[in-house]
Each structure stands twice: as C-alpha cells, then as structure tokens.
C-alpha cells in the first residue's frame, strides 16, 4: 500500500482470482491479488513470462473477466459490468496499449486514432482531426498519418497505438509490454511519453520485461505465479 495517499485509489483490486479453463486441469493464473493504484502513479508490472502479468492488466482494463474478486476502477465496479457497458466505460476511462499493437488494418494511422473519439463521441467533430494530428505529432508520426498500419514499422505501429490510447484523454493508460517490440532508443522515447503523461496526473500501468525501465517507474510490482510477490517504490526519481 502507499500510505501517503489519503484520497481514494483509482484502481482497486480485491481478492482477485482468475482461473483459466484449459480443457484438462483448470489453471489459476491469478491467486487472490489485492492492489490499490492511486491517481498519478506510474506503476510497472514485472515478472517472468507466464507469471500472470497480462492476465492482471486485462482484469484492470476489463478486457477479461475475473473468476472471483473485485475490480474497482475510478469508482466503477468493473467486474460487475456487462460487455457493452464495459466497452463504453473503457473507451473513456482506460487507454489500452497492446503488446502486438492491434491497429485496425484497413484504417489509416490517423483513422485509427480517430476511432475512439468516434465511438465515444468525446470531442466535437471538427476538433477530432486536429486533436488526432496533435497526438500523432507527439509520438512523431504526423508524417505517417495517412498510411495503413501494415506499411509501418513495429515501433511506428506501437506509437500509433499509444496515440490511439490517448485519443479520449483517459485518466488511466494500461499498456502491456508497449516497448517489448521496440529498439532501446524508441523504447526510451515511448517511456518518455509515459513519463510526461504521469506529469499530467495520468495514471499509467505498464507491463514490462525491461529491467532498466522497470527501475525507473515510481512503483514496481513483481508478479510471480499469479501473485504480487514484491513491491518497490522509487520515490526519489518521481519527485525529482
């Protein structure tokens, strides 16, 4: 727990259990996880492959449903929402960045970024394109705006995905290994973007394999065998 926060946590997990039904023996990927994340935190989730990081972040974003336990995000009981309500809520509250970009292949980069605003009707029509271009500018992709994703490099696609995650200006960004497919220089740039977002009081939850990056987040959670086994707080960096 982070005792210095007196306000309500943005993300609150209680006794969260996820069991995968694999056909043969059921597999417990999360074993009664408890976690509170507060507004403006930059949380890194680390752990071995197969430890349950993706499973955990999918619970927070409502991309997958827990077997039992509670997920409350921004006061919303995510575990209790239906698929439909979940999508609407997610669109406005959580920007999701996937490990494998997941851009829509038949839409240009710009259109991919416009899509969340379209779905959630968040900005007036005429502000959307300037806003999307601004976001692309920030991820240094303005010149690629009118290309189809398949013609971009992995790093470019990931930056486009981040721009898309920010489209509705959500308070929380959940990213699953956003730098996993990027070279160190690009990874650094992406990480820098996340740091700037944190400065704007966004809450970032990021899964990463990169120990160097993990060392730079304010709060690092170590996941092993479906449990949070260790937590490190780097107050000095964040405050610096």
């Amino acid at each position: 727990m982070a005792p210095e926060h007196s306000d309500m946590p943005v993300v609150s997990l209680r006794s969260l259990v996820k069991v995968y039904d694999t056909g043969e023996a059921p597999f417990t990927a999360l074993k009664a996880v408890d976690l509170d994340v507060y507004s403006g935190e930059f949380v890194g989730i680390i752990g071995k492959s197969g430890s349950g990081k993706t499973t955990l972040i999918n619970m927070i974003t409502g991309i997958d449903h827990p077997t039992s336990g509670e997920v409350v995000v921004g006061g919303t009981p995510v575990h209790a929402l239906g698929e439909n309500a979940l999508a609407k809520w997610r669109g406005r509250t959580v920007g999701v960045v996937f490990q494998f970009f997941q851009l829509l292949p038949t839409l240009t980069v710009l259109e991919n970024v416009l899509l969340p605003m379209d779905f959630c009707s968040t900005y007036p029509l005429r502000e959307r394109v300037p806003r999307a271009m601004d976001l692309l500018e920030r991820v240094e992709l303005a010149d690629q705006a009118h290309k189809l994703p398949a013609t971009l490099s992995g790093g470019q696609q990931q930056r486009a995905a981040i721009a898309r995650a920010m489209a509705n200006d959500p308070p929380i960004i959940a990213a699953d290994e956003p730098t996993g497919n990027l070279d160190s220089k690009t990874a650094e740039a992406v990480f820098g973007m996340f740091e700037r977002l944190v400065e704007q009081r966004k809450t970032i939850i990021m899964v990463t394999h990169d120990n160097d990056l993990a060392g730079r987040v304010r709060r690092a959670l170590h996941v092993a065998d479906g449990e949070i086994v260790e937590e490190r707080i780097h107050r000095e960096r964040h405050m610096g």
Binding site: I63, D64, E83, L104, T106, L115, A150
Partner: protein, 794 residues
C-alpha cells in the same frame, strides 16, 4: 465520413476479392431462386394468357361439308358466343426433293384476319393471309426441320396428283398440336389453294365458344350433343367427332403441371441452398472480423455500435448483390421463358416477374445475409475482448487436436503436407460443418436431378418396348383386311404384317354428357406386335366374355375409368357396355382402348381395317423409313391410299419429344443448380484458404515451398469435395425418388426409377476438379504475398 464507416468501406474495397466472392454467392442464390420461381410464374401466366387470348373452342365438330348459313345459325344460338368454321384436310407431302414423305394438316379460313375462335396469329406480315399456291406454316414446324420462306412443299392430292405450295411465312396457333409432338405439320392455306388440292369449297370443322364462361364440362358436353342433333342432323350431315375439352384446359396441361412441380421443388431447394451458401459466406466473414471486434471494443466501441457496423457491412453486400442479382435474374428469367416458350410453342407478351418473387429475391439478397450474420455478429460483439482478440476463426479448439491427431496418426505413411491439410480441414469444425452442409445439399440436388433425368430416359426406353413393329399406315376409309395384307405381303423386307380396326370411341355418361377423346383398337389378344406393360389388372385373354384394356392416357382423361368398372362405349354408332379389365402404360400418343377385334366386330359390326402394321428386318430409323416408303408405294399401286404413316422411330421420337421437354428443363435446372454448387464450392474453398493466409505466411517463413503449400490446400479442398460428394450421393437417392414420384402424379404416368450412377461419378469428377481448383487459386494468391504481409493479414 467517420472512421468506423470508413472502415466498412475500406474492408469492402481493400478486400475486393472477398467482397466479390461474398456478393457473387449471394447473387447466384438470388439468381437460382428467382429464375426458377419467377420463370414458373411467368411461364404459367403467359401460357394461360396466350391460350386465353386465342379464344380456345369449347366445342369443335368434325363433320361433312357445310356452308355459311349453318355457321350463322350456330352463331345465333343463345348459348353460343362465337362460331368459327374452317376446312381442315390432311395430306402427304415431300419437301423440296426429299425422298421421305411427311404428313401435313392444312386449314383454310374464309377471313384470315377475322378468326373468332382458336385464333391463328401470323408471326409477321410475311405471306399473311396466304395467297393462292402458298402455305403459311405453324411455327412449331421449325422445331422439326428448318423450314424457310420460299421452300416448296410437293403436296399429294387424294387422286395422286402433286400440287406445289410455297412456304410464304409462319403463324402461331397455340391450339394446334406442336409438330414435334404430333408427328405432322400444320399449315394455313386459302380456299382457292384448298380447292386446287381437290377439296371442296366448304367447311368441315365448326368451333364454338359458349357464352357461359364458367360452364362445367358435363354441361358443355350435353349442349354440344343437343346442338349437334338440332344443327347437323336435319341437314343430313354426319358429325364424325365432337370434341369438348375440359374448359380452360390444354393438351400440354400434364407437361405444364410436371414442369411447374419441378420448378417449385427445385426453386425451394435452391432457396435452401442459397440460404446455406449465404450463411456460410457471411458467417466466415464474421469469423474473420472477431479479432477486430475485440480491438474496437477495447477502445470504446459499444456492442450496439459494432452491431450496426456489421449490419451495415453485410447490408452493403446484400444491396450490391440485389443490385446485380435482380437485373441478372430478370435477364435469366427472360432467357428461360423464351426457351420454354419455344419448345412449348406459346408466345410471351410480358416478362414481368410477379412482385412476390421479387420480394423473395430481395429477401434472399438482404434478409438471409442479415439473418445469417445476426448470430455471429451478436456472438462477436458480446464475447469478452480477450476471447475476441485470441479468436482464430470459427469452431472450437477443443475438438481438434487430440481426436484428429490420433485419427491421422493411425493412418501410417501419410505424407506430412497431406496430414497437415487434413488436420486443417477438421480443426475448423464449425466452418467445415457449414461448408459441408452447403456442398452436400448442392451435390444432392444436382445428382438427384441427374437421376430424375435418368428415370425419364429409362421410362422412354421402357415405353418403346410397346412397339414391336417397324411402321404403321393409317387409312382414311376402312379397308378389307385381306386385300391390305395381300398388297404388302411380298414387299421386300416385310417380315410380318397385321391389320387393326381403329375407330373413334365415345364414352357415354349417365348424365347425357359424352367424352369423345378415345380411339378403340381391335386386335388379336395374342398379338406380338405390341408389348404391353400392365399397370393394373390384366391384358386381354380372348377367352369368354372379355372386357377392354385402357392405357394410362385414357385413364387420365376419363374419371369413370377404373379397373373393375363397367363403362358404356359408343363405337360406329353402336353402344355397348364393357368391363375394364386392365390398364397398360400409354406411350403419350393419346387415350386408347384395346379390345379383342372379334368382340369389337360383334359389338359394332366392323366395316374394315384402318391401320396396317408391318415388321421389317432392321429396326433402325433409315431402314424403317425405306420399308415404309416401299409399303406406301405398293399400297398406292393397289389403290389403297394412306392418310398418314409413321415409323416406329417416328413414334418413339414423338414420345421422346414429349418427355424430352422435361428432360430439357431438368438439364437446364441441373446446370443452374450445379452452377450454384460450383460457385458455392469455389467461394467456400477460397474463404477457407483466405482464412489461412496467416498460416501460409508462417509456413513459408519456416521454409515451405510453393508446391508444398499448394498440395496442402488442394488436398484440403479435394477432401472436403469428396466428403460432400459422398453424403450428397446418399441424399440424392431419397431426393430423386421423391421427385420422380411427384412427377408421376403430375403427368399421370408411371415412371421407371433409375439411379444415375454416371451422374454420381461425373459429379465426383467435377467436384474434385472444382474443389482443388477453387483451393488452388486462393492458395496461389496467398503464396504470392510476402511473408510479412501474410503474417500481418487480418
């Protein structure tokens, strides 16, 4: 346009190959259903319209010569709304220098442009009305031989002299038996020409329409008898035949009901087939989109929004398909209607498809795809994002691995690519189930149609066993049997001969009505000139007080005919009751009654024989014609004038023409349904392979050669094709027996069922060829894309 709608447009245009496939499979569905159901509606409607417009006769008398005064008196009868007289006479003729003699019925009208009953409509201005020395042919003559304006017909007068008539044009007469079924042509000439042919300048046919349009057959018959007595008998005129057809009926009625039945049955099957095809395509499309649905939901797309997105997308496919399908179907229906009109000899005034058929077409194009998409759309938009993101296609993963791998593992020495492709095939279980259902249905229907066709062919050859002789000759007047037989006895090639009295027979009903549709044939019960196939009861025995045997045509044209019943027949003016002892298969040559010639003589006092049958040495069409020519020659030398002649080949040919109509339509429908099947197969295979584009990329990345990839997908395609063929062949048996039984009901004739093994194997070959080819094309496409693109393929 907002990005999500842009996605719809982009999905349609960037994946144009898929769009084309989906639209094409919907279009072919619309087409098959539309042409069958629409074609049927138009066919029946236009035939009825053309028939009604001709003002068909309610009563027709064939009589001794009469004049205009009698026509006027008939017209003044209060029950009669119109009376039309004509002269009709039958001649033998040769066309331009041909050896073979044919028969033609010539009809003369006083006013060609004012025919009030059973109208004849000129095909063009050419040669109408026919001038002296000219003949206008009924257009069905074109179905028999290619007559052209300017052809010369050498017509033989009763006294043996030849009169040359020039073909001046063509006309349409829906009430005359089309030449290909009748075995003779019909032509129209002026009275001047008629007299030059040795006929008198008076009428011998009177056709009437009755004022009461809803009159029953029995009432019309009683009226016809009453009028006959009042009109002709006081003048001393004999009436040879009084024809009272069932009001509104037509001699092609049986064929029409059979056709109509086939079209409805196959139209219904095509509807089911199209639905399967569309469901198959659309659901595979949706399966491909599941992952994108997951992505869109993860960035805030609500189920409602996504549902709309896909409803619109599928709707666009539907709209495109309807836009192409409706005009294509209209054109196809038009072609089909023309095809039908030509062989059935009627004219089409309007090709307008009835609204309900258009509604069905639109439903197939729009409603079926949307309904088909509803389930996958709902499932896709309701499933959790993580499931959607991990989705690979239709079907569960659980079924696969273990079962299939174990099964495939048991087949030793299976080449790797083959094993892999078989695994692919079975892994996409849901996909496979849909594909197979579509293909099994298509195959089943195609092979069933083949079997129906085979059954008709078999029936034709069965019916041909009736004719155990090579040629027959009809005489207009009864002749002495001994002198006829003596005349042909020593003609070269005549192996045996027999003579029959054949006369008109009238069934007299208790209510006073009469049915004159029959001929009664007197023969030796032990004759081996015909080989009757019994349908019911027994054949003539020649012993004791024997009864009569009727053919199936007779049974169908007289409700009171059944084995065991006794009917009153009038033959040559003499009435007598006869028990019906049996029913034999007719050869579609009309209603006939058979009885012992001896008994017939006792009952009616036979004045002589009217038909000669000869058997020759060879039974090919040419020898028979040669034999017949010699026989006719010899008869005419002996002063015995033939009124009509037919070889066995001619008779069998007419039978083939009748049933051939059904065969022609069946072939057409089989082709149409096979096309639906082929396009469905191609589409399904293409979609299967497209779904595997990513796999292909991975295989190529791991070093698979083009050839190996082809082999995998071609094997997969062929396997699916072979499985569908097998079950389709099984399904075709009950389908075809049902169709054949229904057809029997429609044409009122028993058919011999034959399962078409050749159809089954032809379809196997087609199926294997098509399914591998259909897999090859997309596999080729896939193998051309770069590994990177293939892996990135969504």
């Amino acid at each position: 346009m907002s990005p999500r709608w842009r996605k719809v447009v982009r999905d349609l245009s960037l994946h144009w190959f898929r769009t084309v496939l989906v639209v094409l499979s919907i279009v072919i569905g619309i087409f098959a259903v539309g042409v069958m159901l629409g074609g049927r509606e138009i066919l029946l409607r236009e035939f009825d319209a053309d028939h009604a417009a001709s003002i068909p006769a309610n009563v027709t008398y064939r009589t001794d010569d009469f004049g205009d005064d009698l026509v006027a008196r008939a017209g003044d009868e209060p029950w009669v709304s119109a009376a039309q007289a004509r002269r009709s006479a039958t001649f033998r003729y040769r066309r331009d220098g041909a050896d073979e003699k044919r028969t033609i019925t010539l009809e003369a009208f006083r006013e060609f442009d004012d025919i009030s009953v059973a109208k004849v409509v000129p095909a063009g201005k050419d040669g109408w009305p026919p001038a002296n020395g000219e003949v206008v042919l009924e257009s069905s003559a074109l179905q028999v031989t290619g007559y052209a304006v300017g052809d010369v017909l050498s017509v033989e007068r009763a006294d043996g002299e030849i009169v040359e008539l020039t073909v001046a044009g063509f006309a349409h007469d829906i009430n005359s038996m089309p030449a290909q079924f009748a075995g003779y042509e019909t032509g129209y000439v002026s009275f001047e020409t008629m007299t030059s042919l040795g006929e008198s300048d008076s009428y011998n046919r009177l056709s009437l329409t009755l004022a009461d349009e809803g009159i029953s057959w029995a009432a019309a018959s009683r009226f016809a008898i009453d009028l006959r007595e009042r009109l002709f008998e006081p003048e001393g005129l004999r009436v040879y035949h009084t024809e009272v057809p069932e009001p509104g009926s037509h001699f092609l009625g049986d064929i029409f009901s059979a056709l109509s039945l086939l079209l409805v049955a196959l139209g219904g099957l095509s509807l089911g087939l199209s639905a399967f095809l569309v469901i198959n395509t659309v659901s595979s499309l949706m399966a491909q989109q599941v992952r994108q649905v997951g992505i869109m939901k993860s960035i805030g797309g609500s189920a409602r929004q996504l549902e709309w997105l896909y409803v619109v997308m599928v709707g666009i496919y539907g709209v495109l398909a309807v836009a192409i399908g409706l005009p294509a179907t209209a054109a196809g229906t038009r072609w089909f209607t023309d095809f039908a009109a030509e062989i059935l000899n009627f004219r089409v005034a309007s090709y307008t498809t009835p609204a309900w058929v258009v509604v069905v077409e639109v439903a197939v194009g729009l409603a079926v795809p949307l309904l088909a998409a509803a389930v996958p759309i709902r499932r896709g938009t309701r499933m959790s994002v993580v499931t959607a993101l991990n989705a690979t296609g239709v079907g569960g993963k659980h079924f696969g691995h273990t079962v299939v791998d174990r099964a495939l593992g048991m087949i030793r020495g299976l080449p790797r690519p083959v094993a892999l492709s078989l695994r692919n095939t079975f892994l996409r279980k849901g996909r496979l189930a849909l594909t197979l259902s579509t293909l099994v249905l298509a195959s089943g229907v195609v092979m069933a149609v083949w079997s129906v066709q085979a059954s008709i062919e078999r029936t034709i050859s069965d019916l041909e066993t009736w004719w155990n002789y090579d040629a027959e000759v009809d005489f207009a007047v009864p002749l002495d049997a001994a002198s006829v037989e003596a005349a042909v006895e020593d003609v070269d090639g005549v192996a045996a001969s027999e003579t029959w009295p054949v006369f008109g027979a009238t069934v007299v009903h208790a209510d006073g009505s009469e049915n004159e549709s029959f001929v009664i044939v007197g023969l030796d019960p032990d004759t081996d000139f015909v080989g009757p196939t019994l349908v019911e009861g027994r054949w003539l025995t020649g012993e004791g007080p024997d009864g009569i045997v009727i053919n199936t045509d007779a049974r169908d044209s007289e409700p009171s005919f059944s084995v065991g019943s006794t009917v009153t027949l009038r033959v040559l003016g003499q009435e007598r009751s006869w028990p019906i002892v049996g029913v034999v298969r007719g050869q579609m040559g009309g209603p006939a009654i058979y009885c012992d010639a001896g008994l017939m003589a006792e009952a009616a006092g036979i004045p002589g024989v009217t038909r000669l049958l000869v058997r020759g040495e060879d039974s090919d069409a040419e020898s028979e014609q040669a034999l017949l020519t010699d026989v006719e020659e010899r008869l005419s030398e002996a002063g015995l004038q033939a009124s009509a002649t037919r070889t066995r080949a001619d008779l069998a040919g007419q039978l083939r023409e009748w049933l051939g109509i059904l065969v022609a339509f069946l072939v057409l429908m089989a082709a149409l349904i096979a096309t639906v099947g082929v396009i469905g197969l191609t589409g399904t295979m293409s979609i299967n392979v497209m779904e595997s584009t990513r796999e292909i990329g991975v295989m190529r990345a791991t070093g698979a050669q083009h050839g190996a990839i082809y082999r995998i997908y071609v094997t997969e395609g062929a396997t699916v094709g072979a499985i569908a063929w097998f079950f389709g062949a099984l399904a075709s048996y009950p389908l075809s027996t049902t169709l054949v039984r229904a057809l029997e009901g429609a044409i009122g004739m028993p058919l011999t069922y034959a399962f078409s093994w050749s159809g089954v194997f032809t379809w196997l070959a087609l199926m294997l060829a098509i399914s591998s080819a259909a897999s090859l094309a997309p596999a080729f496409r896939a193998s051309r894309v770069s590994v990177r693109d293939a892996i990135a393929y969504e």
